[in-house]
Symmetry: C2
Subunit: 377 residues, 2 copies
Amino acid sequence: MTATRVSGAGMTRFEAASDRSLLELATAAADDALADAGYATTDVTSIHVGNALAEALGTQTGIANAVTASLGAEGVRADRIENTSASGASAVHRGVEAVASGGSSVALVVGVEKMSVAETADVTESMSRLVHDREYVQGLTLPSFAGLAASAYLDRYGVPREALAAVAVKNHANAVHNPVAQFRKRISVADALESPLVADPLRLYDCCPMTDGAAALVLSRERGVRVASTASATGTHAVADRADPLAIESVRIAGERLFDGTNLSPRDVDVACVHDAFTVLELLELEELGFYDRGAAWEATLEGETRLDGELPVNPGGGLKARGHPLGATGVSQLVELTWQLRGDLPDERQVPGAETGFAINVAGFGNNSVCTLLQA
Amino acid sequence: MTATRVSGAGMTRFEAASDRSLLELATAAADDALADAGYATTDVTSIHVGNALAEALGTQTGIANAVTASLGAEGVRADRIENTSASGASAVHRGVEAVASGGSSVALVVGVEKMSVAETADVTESMSRLVHDREYVQGLTLPSFAGLAASAYLDRYGVPREALAAVAVKNHANAVHNPVAQFRKRISVADALESPLVADPLRLYDCCPMTDGAAALVLSRERGVRVASTASATGTHAVADRADPLAIESVRIAGERLFDGTNLSPRDVDVACVHDAFTVLELLELEELGFYDRGAAWEATLEGETRLDGELPVNPGGGLKARGHPLGATGVSQLVELTWQLRGDLPDERQVPGAETGFAINVAGFGNNSVCTLLQA
């Protein structure tokens, strides 16, 4: 569908508080991706920076210019793409369009976030300003929406609470083998169920952490994994307007658009990275996207189908839950993971054998905007 | 060069403090552009929001989603492009690439800013965080850089102080006839020279104001003014690293790239919108872009060459100085003005007769990033 390829991929380690600055993180990931692609900085013809919060947190204005300077790439065209927690994937899509339109021959996409500069409450507050009158002023935050959705999911389908925990347990298990993951620590269902309450019924281990990190891709027409399709969609803006609190319209529409015009369907996907900012979201997205029927993803998860050795490995790098969720970097890091998987670059303990088609979804807000990408070996 | 056309253009009035909210401004401009294009909201296939400060000022997170909802366009793909004061033109360029790549058939670009929610000092502070270690912590702001550049310009070329004032006088005169301009007030050279000092030698009438407003374009392949070329470039990031304080590399490179691959040169331009955030910048940009030799733009200005009835009408809508400078809206509003000029839509007192080729430059920071666009009737 697009003639664009991922020619190089790289990322920093994701961690709770990096001793590197925002710009050092971005530069390290970019250099890594360029080295992987075999391109020099002087080959780059456009820079697309995905970042959600540097400006809101008062760290950096005009981050695209600062990243370009930090890379020693002054002269190259550059801008920033912001789409809250989906800023990373949106930046990748703008890079793909730059290459596909002929506007750029070698596009460097860098997603970066340094969240440790702020208190968790400040980040949560900033992220909650999406729907000002109807959500922010009511005190509604992303964790509270996730808690409400989780309650509804458990109730509607008679789901045991352990099914949510199973998502976290799986993603933590995957991260153990991922050297760039924030939490390389196996957890048990009991650990998850006994962790502190965040937004009933969700507990600490149902929620992604605050993370510092950066990820980068080099896009060109020359070589690498093929960008088979990109698609995104906004959805109902105020969560209260959703007819069904478990239906996330933006996810469904973006997923349908992604496969439209390709000869592929969800059944062809060998490995998927979904936006598990909260455990319940992994289940809801897998259902909304058609990987599972409604109300069926929890049982598939409990049965191990989404494990690394299952039929559809989901979040092999640990997901947002355990790899970490540096907002603007996440969507890029999902595609870095898929690139590694589709090239067969990874050691046996975390390689999905023979993976040829990879899917990723990066979600903004509580499903306000979904950004999907399909890569093929 | 691109197959993309400006099929519709619209904008709100620019004013010091609008009684409309950020989202109301964006929606009004978008509806205006869609009506002008003859498209319905349901025809739109992508939304590109240019905004610099809503997040930094704590007004709105994820503005692209909020604008989409406010337009009743939920479902359409949307994201925000940020490039400080050049966010508007960068958003237009991403819309052009969306159309040119086949990713979108009808792209709606909305630039918007509501600056009246903050104190001028807070905006200036936020804008100064571009180069944190070497400028922000030193207390260097955009007006201070402009003052230094103005001093150097006056000194190097033996320019009378009146030449700077002449830029403001011209742009104010143009705005008198522009119903959407912030300042529809003629000023004299004496008014400019006697206005309060801001950053020596620059006075109040050398500086753009704080503004609320929005502007929008509808882009498609179907009909309208042709986007002949788009080009942008970063430049030296820290101003202190510039070998010549009067040379703005990003402006030069973006300008060269813009004309490369077209059969056009600056000599073919019939009307230009340049980024006169400070009077001296209008002169420096006209020289850097090759419209005038170095050190020659001031005399041309004094001689009236850049007036509406001159050889090269510059900022016929009043420029940033008098139309106003709502950061994320400015670059879009320049292209709204050019669209009107190239279509011959305007009343005689402000129409550039027979204009066929229009040029615009929108600049981020103090020349950190320049974004140029060429339109043709």
